[in-house]
């Protein structure tokens, strides 16, 4: 693995010693990228009201406080429910759209694609304000339904891009062969195409889950009442004071998202 150290560093024959400054700089940057986030983990086990590193006395009191608080539990349940339902709504809708856009070669396709990825381009504050207005009219403000619908429009573009890319590299002739042998299109898709793009499907499902689970700004506007999300409560708590409970929640969130992304990486591997 370290054989490269004996070669020159670049094609222009610079030695590693001459580039020591770059290695030091890069190490510092990578340190700053990772450590500030991870340092929350040991701090969350501090017994003190003021977050310490390293903690003088270790304890799990902030975890106990989190698990014992009905308010945080309600928010956690809402976030998990919303994320799970968003995954269930956005993934099939996105796959249908990606398949439709891929197979139908109609003239205004580009426009449809632009509209599909619009939620990624419009500043999220405007998506939130717009959804707030729409949900007041539709009378689904502060409901789980509204939350799932709003988060789904953020997740759909991701699903369309990820599964769309998989369809691009998939040989459609396989599906055509199945159809010429008498399978209806839906059956050909389900039995021939879908199994072969399954990695993209799993990846996009996990991304949909995460998108909803991590989302803050829309949740600030349209979640609340009986259905506040975890991120909404965290944001509001942050504005007031530095509550160590948030360090405990942050730790749990870091572990959960890392787990999901590792899963996505494992499933995504098979693609190439």
């Amino acid at each position: 693995m370290f054989k490269w150290l004996h070669k020159s560093a670049t094609e222009t024959q610079i030695s590693h010693g001459q580039r020591l400054w770059l290695y030091i700089l890069a190490s510092i940057i990578m340190f700053l990228l990772v450590v500030p986030t991870l340092i929350v983990i040991p701090m969350s086990f501090s017994d003190s009201q003021y977050l310490q590193f390293p903690p003088d006395v270790w304890s799990t009191r902030w975890y106990a406080h989190y698990l014992g608080s009905s308010e945080w539990m309600l928010a956690t349940r809402t976030s998990l429910k919303a994320a799970f339902l968003t995954m269930l709504v956005a993934t099939p809708i996105g796959i249908l759209a990606a398949y439709g856009l891929h197979t139908s070669r109609i003239p205004f396709l580009r426009m449809a694609f632009v509209m599909m990825i619009m939620p990624m381009m419009v500043p999220v504050v405007l998506v939130a304000v717009g959804a707030f207005y729409a949900f007041v009219k539709l009378k689904i403000l502060y409901t789980l339904t509204g939350l799932v619908l709003a988060h789904s429009i953020l997740a759909v573009p991701l699903v369309v891009i990820v599964t769309g890319a998989a369809l691009q590299s998939y040989d459609m002739n396989q599906e055509n062969a199945a159809r010429s042998l008498g399978a209806p299109r839906w059956k050909a898709f389900l039995t021939i195409t879908l199994p072969q793009i399954r990695f993209a499907v799993v990846t996009s499902a996990l991304l949909s889950f995460l998108t909803s689970f991590d989302e803050v700004v829309i949740a600030l506007f349209i979640s609340g009442g009986d259905n506040p999300t975890l991120t909404r409560n965290m944001f509001n708590a942050l504005r007031d004071q530095i509550d160590p409970t948030i360090a405990a929640i942050s730790t749990i969130m870091i572990i959960l998202t890392t787990l999901l992304m590792v899963l996505a990486q494992i499933f995504g591997r098979g693609k190439s």
Partner: protein, 299 residues
Amino acid sequence: MQAPPMTNSDNHAAGLRRDERLEKLKLFGLASPALLLILVILVIPVGWLFYVSFVGADGSFSLENYQRMIESKSYARIFRTTFQVSFLTTAICILIGYPLAYFMAQLPQRLANLCLITVLLPFWTSLLVRTYAWLVLLQKRGLVNEWAMSIGLWDEPLKFVHNLNGTLIGMVHIMLPFLILPTYGAMKAIDKDYLKASSNLGASPVRAFWTVFFPLSTPGLFAGALMVFVLCLGFFVTPAVLGGGKVILVSMKIVSNIELFVNWGAASALGVVLLVLTMSILWIASRFLNFKNMVGGGQ
């Protein structure tokens, strides 16, 4: 010349064409649930915001919401701050991100993948968690101040949060992956033989870098920088927490106009300006760049 008489096969061909058109439409229909959702929750409400921004206090058509924006000093300051923060964040991201991408692009693949994790880990960690982490680290009695004072870097605790410094630190940390990933992608795609050729022809390493490597990496760098700039323009969470009310960006003014003052006219006019700015930057960029590269993070 007379048109040839219609034959059976012509009829057949016309029928097939009609079938094909119908089939295409049906397939396109599969995209309709997604398009409908986006239409109802995003396009129509944003269209309504456009409309509201042109309605005055008395309910008739007026430009007063935009006029206020031009005349009021506080709005001018908000736009100035927004551009200042976005520009500085982008510039710092380029200065920090380009060397790191360059470093990773020349490592053997396995080591590079290992280093890439350090970029991806913050990328998938919740932005709220990362903002919180910086708040904890940078506060008056936070780790950074405590350590720096214990080794004698400075004597009084420095103020890092609830001002521009804290906002910039947090935003650079959050935006860096958006710059590094496309830049790294572009660098990996550069054919190393070009560099060999240039040094073969007598270019010094520094010259080979600036005349060969750097220009070839600019599409990725440009895409990343643009992405960062556009995301900064509409950013809310990190400046709201780390800025502590001292750094007010357009997005925050939109939120406070609605939450505190219930002033939809002012909020929607700001929203329209923000949207038009964002969209025109993206549109101009799409003339020069492959759009898919940007959306897909260049991977």
